[in-house]
Amino acid sequence: MINKIVQTMADAVAGIRDGAVVLLGGFGNIGQPHALLDGLIEQGAKDLTVVSNNAGVGRTGLARLLDLGRVRKIVCSYPRTADPVVFEELYRAGRIELEIVPQGTMAERIRAAGAGIPAFYTATAVGTKLAAGKEEREINGRKYLLEESLPGDVALVEAWEADRWGNLTYRSSGQNFNPIMATAAQLTIVQAQHVVDLGALDPEKVMTPGIYVNRVVHVPYGDPMVP
């Protein structure tokens, strides 16, 4: 019997290696797997590359992982949030590498990694300083940049419901990067608010089929914090 539900946080985050590329779901505070982040902090892996839309808020979660010196590089579109104090300190001190990627290009690069597309062309960022070092090509009269896929070793995902096959649903704007990150990593780890019986999810409402999921841990924390 397939059963991807694990019983402890330690089991959920076991085996994340030093140097891993970690895809971290969430947009702002919504759909971000805070419990898995705490599990990763506890687990100890270091020298990480974190791919996340934002660069952490306050002193907890991703900010704490940064604060502990466990992140070598961050790939994100928007490091300037309401309270990015930890990231800014590290960045100014030259103690963390930053790769700024336009948000849509980041999303498409992650999707491409899951879809077996090693590279694609996009008009986003043509003529800007984020085009530096990228191949430019004219196709049908318009200029495009070549962008490579962005795969992860690990994806940390927050879902609303999950079953033992790893099928997932998400709640309203809690989807954001989670479904595409789930497809793009060697090891996809999910925290879910609700664990339901196999067959309980509407087959037309499953947003991430279990094929993309390795482990699910039940974390029924309720609504996201007010930031």
């Binding site: 702002g28 849509g104 992650i110 999707r111 996009t122 986003t124 003529g127 704007s173 990067f177």
Partner: protein, 222 residues
Amino acid sequence: MSLFAACKPLSRNDMAERLARDIPEGWYVNLGIGAPLKVADYVPMEREVIFQSENGVLGMGPVPDPEKIDRWLINAGKQYVTLRPGGSYMHHADSFALIRGGHLDLCVLGAFQVAENGDIANWSMSDNDSAPAVGGAMDLAAGARQLWVIMDHQTKSGESRLVRRCSYPLTAIGAVTRVYTNLAVLDVTPDGFVVRDVVPGLTLEALQQVTDAPLRMAAKNS
């Protein structure tokens, strides 16, 4: 400044209202973080304009009553929003496929500068910016069918934001189609800025004096 003695520059809210008047029913529109978000307040619900937020929300409604907040539903500025009947959700790749694919009728962004060739600079003040944050601005600017910019005509220190060539790092090239400032509404055309509309009491000559890029007047009834 004597130029403005005879006229009253628009407030932020006035600019948003002025822009909102030009959005026809049925358009799909993304409003950038900050000043552009105000535009939604001036589109009446009965004129059905469908607002998108790049974090996967299509069909956003007004800000919720404080006691009715859904803490799972935010916009790109991380503010709580609502979903209208007919709205839907999607993940980030689908959301930016919609943006990049040219399906938005309109995106409204703020900017530091707009150039007469349609270049826009709105994400970074200098090449040495510590930790610049681009978000979805480059995707939106390159992807939407129309890009309207809403911004003050001049900086606080009196420099023109409508320029011949942008001096700040670019967000996109040749993307802007119209600019709404506190003094005027201007189209970006192959011949540069064309003035559609000025605030009452302001002459084209006076407007030109506070504008770096050359201006032309629109032909009547165009």
